[in-house]
């Protein structure tokens, strides 16, 4: 009853063509064009209100664009249950009375179908996902008892239980300390073997440059999209961030420091 769709292997996993989104007469995204191949990992960078969350919502089929088209392996997003949207931690009700395993099992809801309860196979999926993200020992904890890094791992496990092929992660690094950030990025590296395509919204340009194949610089439009060296130079950054960033000459080259953190503004419109 819940829809599933087969993938056409020759098509890009994600193809976004001329997508525009408007909220209350204001442009949130303007003529966005790009496509991703299976297994790519992309960092989406841009200032607050650049439309990062909006882009993810359009890609996942939760939000309909005002114009343009999104296709996932050749068909529209709403027929696929293989797209995982991992919310910002600030958007989650952490007091909700569920355990880590409960949340990961939610990823199985579609595959289970209506009126079916989890079977042994589904528990295997959940347990294996928890092992992959290395939080098997926390499966019975209530979700508020996790650290920030563990919370992100739980959502990645949920995406794995969902058998996601495209993972959209909204600011997963925000609010984590450096070891937790590194741990999470290492985990994403291990997911590469599973052919999962990953898009991550982030504020951290240095980590974006270090861990991702391509960087998309977004500010309502795509300012630049390509490998880190070609995207991260001051002309592009100035164009994306306007006056809202400072460049810092770091040991590894150019760093941009966003003056403000934590993408809050643009969420208020989308539900």
């Amino acid at each position: 009853m819940y829809p599933h769709s087969n993938h056409q292997q020759d098509k890009p996993i994600l193809d976004v063509r001329d997508v525009s989104v408007r909220y209350n007469g204001r442009d949130a995204l303007e003529s966005i064009n790009f496509h991703l191949h299976v297994g790519e990992r992309i960092a989406v960078v841009g200032p607050n209100g650049a439309g990062k969350s909006t882009l993810f919502k359009v890609v996942s089929g939760v939000l309909q664009p005002n114009s343009g088209e999104v296709t996932i392996s050749g068909s529209k997003p709403t027929v696929h249950s293989c797209i995982a949207y991992i919310p910002q931690r600030s958007q989650v009700d952490w007091r909700f009375p569920v355990s880590v395993a409960d949340v990961v099992m939610m990823g199985r809801s579609a595959k289970l179908g209506p009126l079916n309860w989890p079977k042994k196979q589904d528990w295997n999926f959940v347990n294996h996902a928890l092992e992959t993200v290395q939080i098997s020992n926390l499966s019975k904890r209530q979700i508020s008892q996790l650290s920030g890094g563990q919370q992100q791992r739980m959502f990645i496990a949920r995406a794995l239980a969902q058998e996601a092929e495209l993972m959209l992660m909204d600011e997963p690094l925000t609010g984590l300390d450096t070891p937790a950030q590194e741990g999470l990025l290492d985990l994403l590296d291990t997911l590469r073997e599973q052919k999962v395509t990953v898009m991550v919204a982030t504020h951290d340009l240095e980590q974006a440059a270090k861990h991702f194949d391509r960087i998309m610089l977004l500010n309502k439009k795509i300012v630049a999209f390509g490998d880190p060296e070609s995207v991260l130079h001051s002309e592009n950054l100035l164009s994306a961030y306007g006056g809202r960033f400072r460049t810092v000459e770091g040991k590894d080259g150019l760093l941009a420091v966003d003056d403000s953190c934590c993408d809050e503004g643009e969420h208020d419109h989308v539900h």
Binding site: V62, P87, V98, M106, G107, S109, P114, W117
Partner: protein, 277 residues
């Protein structure tokens, strides 16, 4: 003797029926109320209960005060009101709670106006507002059993869907669950619950049955099945204790049930405060 004290009220058939009705309604409200609490729908529940008053009033005027048909009037109005309020909350011109507030107060006033055209209205109005569990007929009891069972069965059948939708609506959407259908189904279940509870606690106290036992349970557990079970337990116990209080202290039954449930909440709240330190 304590036994005599417990048994004495039960020699009356209306007390037996009232007791069964209070327990059943308590359980249904408590389980549905779990989602009302987790999804922050307390105001919606309160508004919905008040909004059905004109429907009951029209039924009351047409049938000349026959109690047993009022359930159907309440049920019809509640379902229409629930879906109507659900639709109103999606419009963007006025904030959701303001829109609900306007509708519910207006409809409530309309209900009072209609009932006030009947000369003996004060007694009947107070039954609609505050409940009359001791007046539950055998036929009404059957309606409570049947519709209460339907509500619980649907909540059980769509357990994982309601859980997923309530915790993370975006996940539900990306899993392509029928989000709108499930949301409306839940509103419909709350509406049926309101109709089922009408005679027990009345329109004005309904929100307490939806929210208080579930909130008490929420303080004591962090797993959803346990929260539902504890909530049902506290609600059923409140029904029983409330009716004894009503019998021995001669206080209104609906108020006695709600006050008992509130006492459980206060105890749980204080206990948790002391435990946490």
């Amino acid at each position: 003797m304590f036994i005599n004290w417990l048994v004495e009220p039960l020699q009356y058939e209306f007390m037996q029926r009232g007791m069964i009705a209070a327990v059943l309604v308590g359980i249904v409200c408590a389980v549905v109320g779990t989602y009302v609490v987790l999804r922050g729908m307390a105001f919606f529940g309160d508004a919905l209960a008040h909004t059905i008053l004109p429907g009951i009033a029209i039924g009351y005027l047409i049938t000349g005060g026959a109690r047993d048909t009022l359930f159907w009037w309440a049920l019809g109005t509640a379902v229409i009101a629930a879906l109507g309020i659900g639709a109103i909350s999606k419009q963007a011109e006025i904030k959701e709670d303001t829109a609900i507030g306007i509708i519910f107060a207006g409809m409530f006033a309309l209900g009072i106006a209609l009932i006030s055209t009947v000369r003996s209205y004060a007694v009947d109005l107070s039954h609609f507002l505050f409940g009359d569990v001791l007046g539950v007929s055998a036929q009404s009891l059957w309606l409570i059993v049947i519709f209460g069972a339907i509500v619980l069965l649907i909540i059980g059948a769509f357990y994982k869907e309601f859980l997923t939708l309530s915790f993370d609506p975006i996940l539900a959407a990306t899993l392509r669950l029928p989000v709108n259908l499930l949301n409306n189904l839940l509103l419909g279940l709350i509406a049926v619950t309101v109709a089922v509870s009408l005679q027990t606690v009345g329109v004005a106290l309904m929100v307490a049955m939806l929210v208080t036992p579930a909130a008490t349970a929420y303080l004591l557990t962090n797993r959803l099945p346990m929260m539902m079970s504890l909530s049902a337990f506290f609600a059923a116990l409140s029904g029983v204790i409330g009716l004894y209080l009503s019998y021995y202290l001669s206080i209104a039954s609906g108020a006695a049930i709600v006050l008992t449930a509130t006492t459980f909440f206060v105890i749980a709240f204080l206990w948790k405060r002391i435990k946490v330190g």
